[in-house]
């Protein structure tokens, strides 16, 4: 059976949860509490040496690249269709996957904003102190990547403004695509909508000035279309944290 190691229904964990529910594939979900640094335990590092979350385990393979794992699910379980099958549409889908994922992309900027605007403000001081103490104990070579976002210093104002500016540019790009289309690529609902939603759904709560009914009406109604899907609602309902409802509120609700 497929196994999914995931954290909160957010970012790439959310995209994979939505996809598995849309495909109606039976899977065993395993919650990895990143705030307890469970992804840095010896047992987890065996599975995912770079401490990446989520992790899809299928056909005995530990799939640590979530964007590629989504492509795998789309091809392994062709129905319902969640990706184009023509080479041109598949190229576009892969280009979107490359563009949306990764430390240099939208995901990193939204994570930085989420950490600094919600987590640092909403997390009880005691929990935050305990979390930072754990991060501080990580070996030096584990402190790059996401751990750098979570390091002891808050991002400075400039960094946050730069991240906001980049998110705004990405949002503008998607907004302009949705002028002529209901979904982001390939003329139909696809794994790219799931990935984009997983990274963007918290932006109206994190930075309301960037994404709202008047500035980005098309993205806002695309978000609402996504929220109406049972698979999306089901995935979002899997949250396990006291901070989560703040971030995962539907726009306008």
């Amino acid at each position: 059976m497929i196994e999914l190691y995931h954290w909160e229904p957010n970012a790439e964990s959310l995209a994979l949860l939505i996809c598995l529910k849309e495909k109606n594939v039976e899977f065993h979900g395993q919650y990895v509490d990143m705030l307890q640094l469970e992804h840095h335990t010896a047992a987890y590092l065996e599975l995912s040496p770079k401490a990446q979350v989520p992790l899809l385990v299928a056909e005995g393979e530990n799939m640590s690249d979530a964007g590629l794992a989504l492509q795998y699910l789309a091809e392994r379980y062709p129905e319902p269709r969640l990706a184009p099958t023509d080479p041109s549409g598949w190229y576009d889908l892969q280009a979107w996957t490359a563009w949306l994922g990764g430390m240099m992309g939208l995901a990193a900027d939204v994570a930085l904003l989420g950490w600094n605007t919600v987590m640092l403000e909403k997390m009880p001081a005691k929990e935050l102190a305990a979390f930072r103490a754990k991060v501080a104990e990580l070996p030096q070579e584990k402190k790059s990547g996401w751990a750098a976002v979570w390091s002891d210093a808050e991002a400075d104002e400039d960094e946050l403004l730069n991240a906001e500016e980049r998110v705004q540019q990405q949002v503008a790009k998607i907004e302009s695509i949705l002028i002529d289309a209901e979904w982001i690529t390939g003329g139909a609902y696809s794994i790219i909508d799931m990935t984009a939603f997983a990274h963007l759904h918290s932006v109206p709560a994190l930075v309301p000035g960037i994404m709202n009914h008047s500035e980005t009406p098309r993205i806002t109604s695309w978000l609402a279309r996504m929220h109406k899907r049972p698979a999306v609602a089901g995935a979002l309902a899997m949250h396990n944290s006291t901070i989560a409802p703040v971030v995962y509120a539907a726009p306008g609700s």
């Binding site: 299928a58 795998y72 490359a98």
Partner: protein, 258 residues
């Protein structure tokens, strides 16, 4: 007709050249001289606003993501297939094509320091600064400026050498398990990694040699035996070509003495 705007048989630039030569498909090769920063000139930016190489245009479809473009071309062009059929093998191919040459960022630091930097600095500070100013993306401008002026510290250079060595060991571990990166067959993943790794034993023998990475060296040897690989390096116009030719003769001499 197929249009390929690219530079040398090296790194991202080399991917479509290697792939199309393997495929046996004709294409128009538009040489974009990266050492003259031609990829940042207005004419090229009209085609590819990011100012990256390569750009591949097929039937009006403009593709700037090179690894993904190879998968598209493999599906639409005639010739042998370099993509496995099963979803799991495709995942492995894509994983290795995406992450298997991540160490090339470290290699690039060393390459600029030893080779590219001195070459571009021949044009003089004024012209170099002018060309750097035209780079559209700010982060890329800073990265190119650091690279072109080789303002790397000894610590950065040592980190880069460590990065290359760790990358070779990651490849070695995989090639101990299967002959090619995706499994039993030569695929796009091998071409993508080879485009970055083709001269490692020559320039970076502290990281790649028969003693410390025998499976990796054996993989290189098998790829250098492919006629398309010998052929494709003839497209090169810089000393990078000579490095590949030296590898070809080194392996040929070993084959001859076996």
């Amino acid at each position: 007709m197929l249009q390929v705007y690219t530079w040398e048989v090296n790194s991202n630039s080399g991917k479509p050249l290697i792939f199309l030569t393997e495929k046996g498909v004709e294409f128009d090769f538009h040489y974009i001289d990266v050492l003259k920063f031609e990829q940042h000139q207005p004419e090229y930016l009209k085609l590819n606003p990011q100012g990256t190489v390569p750009t591949v245009v097929h039937d009006g479809k403009v593709m700037t993501e090179s690894t993904q473009a190879l998968q598209y071309l493999d599906a639409v062009l005639p010739g042998p297939s370099f993509t496995p059929g099963k979803p799991l093998e495709k995942y492995r191919m894509r994983w290795w094509a995406t992450h298997g040459a991540a160490w090339a960022a470290s290699l690039s630091v060393l390459g600029w320091h030893a080779f590219m930097g001195p070459m571009v600095r021949k044009m003089g500070d004024e012209k170099l600064n002018d060309l750097l100013e035209r780079i559209p993306n700010k982060q890329r401008r800073i990265a190119w400026s650091t690279a072109a002026k080789s303002t790397f510290t000894e610590e950065q250079l040592q980190n880069a050498r460590d990065g290359v060595a760790a990358g070779v060991q990651m490849m070695e571990a995989r090639l101990r398990v299967s002959p090619y990166f995706a499994g039993d067959n030569y695929t796009i993943a091998d071409m993508v990694i080879f485009a970055n790794a083709y001269s490692l034993p020559l320039m970076h023998d502290y990281a790649a040699s028969d003693d410390i990475s025998p499976c990796f060296i054996d993989w290189l040897r098998r790829i250098y035996r492919r006629p398309a690989i010998v052929e494709v390096f003839k497209l090169g116009r810089t000393p990078m070509r000579e490095r590949a030719e030296e590898m070809i003769s080194r392996f040929a001499a070993q084959d001859g003495s076996e």
